[in-house]
Symmetry: C2
Subunit: 313 residues, 2 copies
């Protein structure tokens, strides 16, 4: 169904928490905020131009061949085999290198905006693979655990990246996410490097029992089971060493009512899952204190799971 073309659009793509402890490289969920805003308009050249980037502290390239937002749009155009120019303004309203899916949000916002301006030739699900090309230049591999939930919203299971198979999971109504971003730098490269090449069979078995149990917990609105299953025997023991204060922050979260607490993506952000909104502020303060006691500043984001995903502003 071809829609009427518009010439300019502004969209928002949310931040995401990937892995969710047990589901290394396979689970991700979308936050209500923060996220990236992309303003895009058709131009009469055949060039994709990045006019402006704000909120990145000068860290991102304005070169359209090097920026995730434009590379993703180019992948979309290549698939359509058309030439079309776009002018892009990217407003990053979320931290980079935070483990919150910053590059994914930009890519998702880019392809979603371009798809709207082109009359929606693709569904959201189809757009995921173009946004994954943005992940490829940002992270070295085309994976969907952040792109999927930023695009589709909700909680996603990436069963396979190639061929792409994403399953949307149910979101229990009382599930809240508290995400604390500490002001430290952890390079994705380093957090990949500390991972073991192989997982002891026993730890691996626990992990696949827990991913299965997490899904059952989501379908059954079983918050207790969600809490028990969102644990990580594989990546967290290694990556926690890269995040000063992680053990204290996690302890504080669990002592203050969190169902579960672990590293968001490759870190350094730390997320907690919570049943109900009531205790979230107190929980967030306790988690931040774990960092501030080491003189590490942080900001916190409290939200329901964002079931909508990327959207027009």
């Amino acid at each position: 169904m071809k829609k009427t073309k518009i010439s300019e659009i502004k969209v928002f793509a949310p931040a995401t928490a990937a892995n969710l402890a047990c589901g290394f490289d396979v689970f991700g969920l979308a936050l209500a905020a923060p996220g990236d805003f992309v303003q895009m308009r058709l131009n009469n050249s055949h060039a994709i131009r990045i006019l402006k980037i704000s909120g990145d502290h000068g860290m991102l390239s304005m070169n359209p061949d090097e920026n995730t937002v434009s590379v993703s749009v180019r992948a979309l155009l290549d698939k359509l085999e058309i030439k079309q120019g776009f002018d892009i303004i990217l407003r990053k309203k979320m931290p980079l290198g935070s483990g919150m899916g910053s590059s994914a949000a930009s890519a998702v916002a880019g392809v979603f905006a371009a798809n709207q301006l082109l009359g929606q030739p693709f569904s959201k699900t189809e757009l995921v693979r173009f946004a994954m090309e943005g992940e490829r230049i940002a992270c070295g591999s085309a994976h969907a655990d952040n792109v999927g939930p930023s695009m589709l919203g909700g909680i996603c299971l990436v069963r396979s990246n190639d061929p792409l198979d994403i399953i949307s999971l149910p979101v229990p109504p009382q599930l809240f996410v508290v995400l604390v971003h500490p002001h430290i730098n952890v390079l994705t490269r380093d957090s990949r490097a500390v991972l073991p090449a192989a997982v002891p069979l026993k730890a691996a078995t626990s992990q696949w029992a827990n991913t299965a149990a997490f899904v059952a917990g989501l379908f059954n609105n079983d918050y207790s089971l969600i809490g028990k299953s969102v644990v990580d025997h594989v990546a967290e023991p290694h990556r926690a060493r890269l995040i000063p204060g992680f053990d204290e922050v996690k302890k504080a979260a669990l002592e203050n009512g969190a169902l579960a607490c672990s590293i968001s993506g490759s870190g350094p952000s730390v997320f907690a899952l919570v049943k109900g909104e009531a205790g979230c502020q107190k929980l967030a303060r306790a988690m931040r204190k774990g960092f501030s006691s080491l003189n590490i500043g942080s900001e916190v984001y409290i939200s329901r799971v964002n079931k909508k995903g990327v959207s027009i502003v």
Copy 2:
């Protein structure tokens, strides 16, 4: 709630297929048949006596300290801190050492029968841990992936053996199981020995993506997703070598409409999951042919998933 005591009972505990490919050590399902029959009555001594065992070709011990059926009953009595004698007749109507949960079925039948004769002090779920003591003497470790479904019926996820945490999963209405038992011997010891001590991270990640997807498939009655997710990157590649003809049997199953096909438990039985009953007979013939072409005899069991589990006959 204490029920009226009866002095004699006959029960049936079904065979089970554990692992279900992706879920090594964590998934299991119950078959309608075959299974074990146990006849039990209270006696006036304090002794647990095995009066007779049939169908075991003389392979099982009549010594109550060495037989899974009696050891499990003793674990139950120890928990109650009572002394009570039982006379037990065990009729094995299923093959031993087949990867169909033979020792688990005997243990489940034993504790379920004893619990009935004692006025049901325990729920079925509570009985699982006693039956696991039978598994401990039969296999060396107390695991629940066969005991769970034989007791509770349906498809079980054993999230953890200790502390025990079993989750009953939904059973899609059109799901059928074709299980072929080839007449070859594979020792559980050997099928454990071929397993690697560690799993490459990439294979492990696929595995926990697939256990999660399998659960989503069961909740959504998504047979296609069930088929895609019931694959095994961890145990099957190693254990298949112990089963002559496995590759041909699996190929035959998939070519004849199976959603998925893999090794039942530690083998040598091979199971296929099928949507609908219509094609099961043809599928079963094709699978058996894979064995018979190597002059290996087999028998086949076709059934829905048994949602009832152990029951009074």
